[in-house]
């Protein structure tokens, strides 16, 4: 009985059928592969142009254009005045569709308010403030008439020296404060590009799962799970931020504004928490920004008011965590509105 189904022909046929079924399902349910390409002009790796589906958090489709800029096919062809919104994966905003990204909402809001401005997101996962230092002059060169730079600040560590991990560039403190480029290069660019061409992202998941395996065969000893958190790094915030902001201002004559997006409100300890744990340090950062003529938008009030009014978090998605993660539709809208208020 069993031999009937275990013949070679049936095995191959079943494998092919299952492969095709999963291929079809993964087209709708699996993230596109993030394919990078090297931009000679920007001298860095950027996302390759194309359509990017994101399913593991939210449910967004992003059309990536030149220089990895989302929702605009070729930024160099747009002659209008522009606003650049810099950031990490929060600005990249794969989690929401193009028309729900903050730049697109802001452009629409500007149009509705008779302001002749086009906003565009320029974000890459893993970016920190040092990356903007290197990229701002280049983007201004290739996409002229940028009138203002808004930098999304989602984590204070993005402004601090000696980070635990940095991709494209890094803020160092030893032996002296300096900003340096790294030799970071995305892995498996060609392999990913080929797989993405045939929409075989799920095959990549398989191979990457296998490559990440590190089997252990030696019998072990289990331990109590008493995690001791590593002590927080101590910085001279004032000196570090003065250096960073000085450097940033050297790169452009256009105004720069930080948009601080705290991790609140969040669900914690069986209640909604509104208290920003970075409140004091952010107040210091804001003060230092003012001395450097760098503007500062604090999203704390926007986020809290919106939540109290509608019970909607600025971050999070129903298919991951409802309160944490990247910005959702509400978060993008609120940031766009805050920037519009700032422009006005």
């Amino acid at each position: 009985m069993s031999c009937a189904i275990l013949n070679f022909k049936n095995l191959i046929f079943s494998f092919i059928i299952s492969f095709l079924l999963i291929w079809a399902a993964s087209y709708f349910l699996v993230d596109s592969l993030h394919v990078y390409e090297y931009s000679e002009k920007l001298e860095m790796y950027v996302s390759s142009p194309g359509v990017f589906k994101f399913r593991s958090e939210g449910n967004g489709i992003t059309h990536i254009g030149l220089y990895g800029i989302n929702a605009i096919p070729d930024i160099t062809k747009i002659k209008q005045n522009k606003i650049a919104i810099w950031g990490d994966s929060c600005s990249e905003a794969w989690q929401v569709d193009d028309n729900k990204k903050m730049s697109q909402i802001l452009t629409k809001l500007c149009a509705a308010n008779d302001i002749d401005l086009i906003a565009f997101n320029i974000g890459l996962s893993g970016n920190n403030t040092t990356d903007y230092y290197f990229s701002i002059p280049k983007i201004e060169h290739f996409a002229p008439s940028i009138k203002k730079h808004y930098i999304l600040l989602t984590a204070l560590k993005d402004t601090l020296p000696d980070p635990d991990n940095a991709y494209r560039s890094v803020f160092l403190s030893d032996p002296e404060y300096r900003l340096a480029k790294t030799n970071w290069k995305p892995k498996f660019i060609k392999r990913k590009a080929i797989l993405e061409q045939f929409k075989l992202g799920f095959v990549w998941n398989l191979t990457s799962s296998i490559s990440q395996l590190s089997p252990r065969f030696k019998p072990g000893i289990s331990t109590q799970n008493n995690k001791i958190s590593s002590p927080e790094k101590q910085y001279n915030y004032q000196v570090a931020w003065n250096f960073l902001l000085n450097k940033l201002k050297e790169q452009t004559d256009n105004p720069i504004a930080f948009v601080y997006c705290p991790l609140i409100p969040i669900i914690k300890n069986n209640q909604i928490q509104y208290k920003d744990e970075n409140k004091n340090r952010i107040a210091l950062f804001k003060e230092i920004c003012a001395t450097h003529n760098v503007e500062f938008i604090d999203m704390t009030g926007y986020f809290i008011n919106e939540f109290k009014k509608t019970n909607k978090f600025p971050r999070g998605f129903c298919n991951t965590k409802i309160d944490k993660g990247h910005f959702n539709e509400t978060g993008h809208r609120l940031i766009a509105e805050a920037i519009l208020n700032h422009i006005n």
């Binding site: 009985m1 494998f15 299952s18 999963i22 398989l206 089997p215 000893i221 069986n270 129903c318």
Partner: protein, 467 residues
């Protein structure tokens, strides 16, 4: 070692090859015992000594019982077995619980016994119950004592059901150990089918549901009533698929080696009464509790009130077996109460045979049963009883809060419902994926792909490992 680890797959392939090439029955058993000890020691080799202590104790007690006919001495031998097994279990599992629970009394007596940093040995509840059942069965002369130490060591340590059941009875497994293992294509196929199906239930469904469920049960105050229902139903589905998944993998693994283990779940959420639920849920445990706790207490032979007390005691012990916390004790007691009411209802309303029941009656009975079970899971999952009350209140009194309709959770709840309806109306429910059907292999391949592509990152132990 977990069934979901890559190390297990490599270990198991090597084991199957070794078993296939060894010609002697005894060689095969030695290989299996060492493999089982390695399987357990992989997690923590220090606790292997506990399994060995249990093995030696009950093997010796069994042999002594064989040569002893005086009831007094036989009782002493049984007491030795029970004392050693239960002492180990109580010390590792319940010491801190009792110290914390009785702290008020200790304070009054000016005593201050501190709690200990104890690690709960994996599977201790399962192999202890397995070994105790052997001693009791030998004492009651229901089975012959095992005369081969190798056989008995293999019975206690046999790795597929070692960590989370099913609780295999000696009367079922020991006779199988007497025959030579034959690795056959049919067994491999049948076992593999069960294993992949179990892995799919655990990794693709239960683990992914856990991501939503865990957040809800840590913060039940903030969510609204609809989210509360979705989360509670999700947990009911998660615990079923997690545990049934493990059982299926254990049965499948044993089958590939050539041993049969009885099923542990038989569509429990199709039950139309709480009695039926316990005949279908964790069957090996509920029958163990029936045979070794409820019946020795007197069962239903000592009158109405005594029967109810016996039910409450047996189910409270069942709850305590699940974990050293008052939430588990309450869950067991709650099920005891449900069983008691079930009994009262059955006595007062003489049940008509199911063939004469109207569809409405069947549906109503199912609805009442499933609601009772689902409410029970709330007590089972929460960290403290106050959370349980918040959740149950939100379930039945519409409450505002954050709405979170997790799409995967809703999809799985609806799919599970439809799957159960399909199984209910299917005449032959024994095989969902029949071995002779041509689509079975394709379905198994699909499941394997889904597990690989959609497995959640991180470590997700089986829920029943904590017991």
């Amino acid at each position: 070692m977990l069934f979901t680890q890559i190390e297990f797959f490599i270990f198991f392939i090597i084991l199957i090859i070794l078993l296939a090439i060894s010609r002697q029955k005894n060689d095969q058993k030695i290989i299996l015992v060492f493999a089982s000890y390695y399987f357990y020691a992989y997690w923590d080799y220090r606790f292997l000594s506990l399994i060995m202590l249990t093995t030696i104790t009950d093997y010796m007690v069994g042999l002594c019982l064989k040569s002893q006919n005086i009831i007094f001495y036989r009782r002493i031998l049984l007491c030795i077995s029970l004392f050693i097994n239960l002492s180990i279990l109580c010390f590792f599992k319940y010491y801190n619980f009792f110290i914390e629970s009785l702290s008020g009394i200790f304070n009054l007596l000016n005593l201050s016994p501190g709690t200990l940093d104890l690690i709960l040995p994996l599977g201790i509840s399962f192999y202890t119950f397995k070994s105790i059942s052997y001693s009791i069965d030998v004492f009651n002369k229901k089975i012959e004592p095992c005369t081969s130490f190798l056989d008995y060591a293999l019975f206690v340590s046999f790795f597929p059901p070692l960590l989370a059941g099913p609780i295999v009875r000696a009367s079922h497994l020991l006779p199988q150990l007497k025959t030579k293992i034959k690795i056959t294509q049919n067994n491999i196929l049948q076992g593999l089918r069960l294993f992949i199906f179990g892995l799919f239930l655990k990794v693709f469904i239960a683990d992914r549901l856990g991501l939503f469920v865990d957040i809800f049960f840590e913060n039940p105050n903030v969510f609204d009533s609809i989210t509360t229902w979705i989360a509670v139903l999700s947990y009911s589905t998660q615990i079923y698929f997690d545990f049934a998944g493990y059982s299926s993998m254990a049965i499948g693994t044993a089958k590939m080696i050539g041993y049969d283990i009885e099923i542990n779940f038989d569509f429990p959420y199709l039950s139309k009464s709480i009695v039926e639920f316990w005949r279908r849920w964790h069957i090996s445990l509920s029958f163990w509790i029936r045979d070794y706790v409820y019946i020795p207490l007197g069962g239903n032979k000592l009158g109405k009130s005594r029967t109810y007390i016996n039910l409450l005691v047996a189910m409270t012990i069942c709850g305590l077996w699940h974990g050293a916390a008052w939430t588990f004790v309450f869950w067991g007691f709650y099920h005891g109460v449900l069983l008691m009411f079930n009994r009262i209802y059955s006595k007062t309303h003489k049940e008509r045979p199911s063939s004469h029941q109207t569809n409405f009656t069947i549906f109503f009975n199912w609805l009442i049963t499933i609601t009772g079970v689902v409410i029970g899971w709330v007590f089972f999952r929460v960290d403290n009883l106050s959370y349980a009350l918040v959740i149950i209140k939100k379930m039945f009194i519409p409450s505002p809060g954050i709405a979170w309709s997790h799409p995967f959770a809703i999809f799985i709840i609806i799919s599970t419902l439809f799957f159960h309806i399909f199984v209910y109306f299917k005449k032959n429910r024994t095989e969902v994926l029949p071995l002779h059907a041509k689509h079975t292999i394709a379905a198994l391949f699909c499941m394997a792909w889904l597990i690989i592509v959609f497995h959640p990152k991180g470590f997700h132990p089986f829920i029943y490992f904590q017991f």
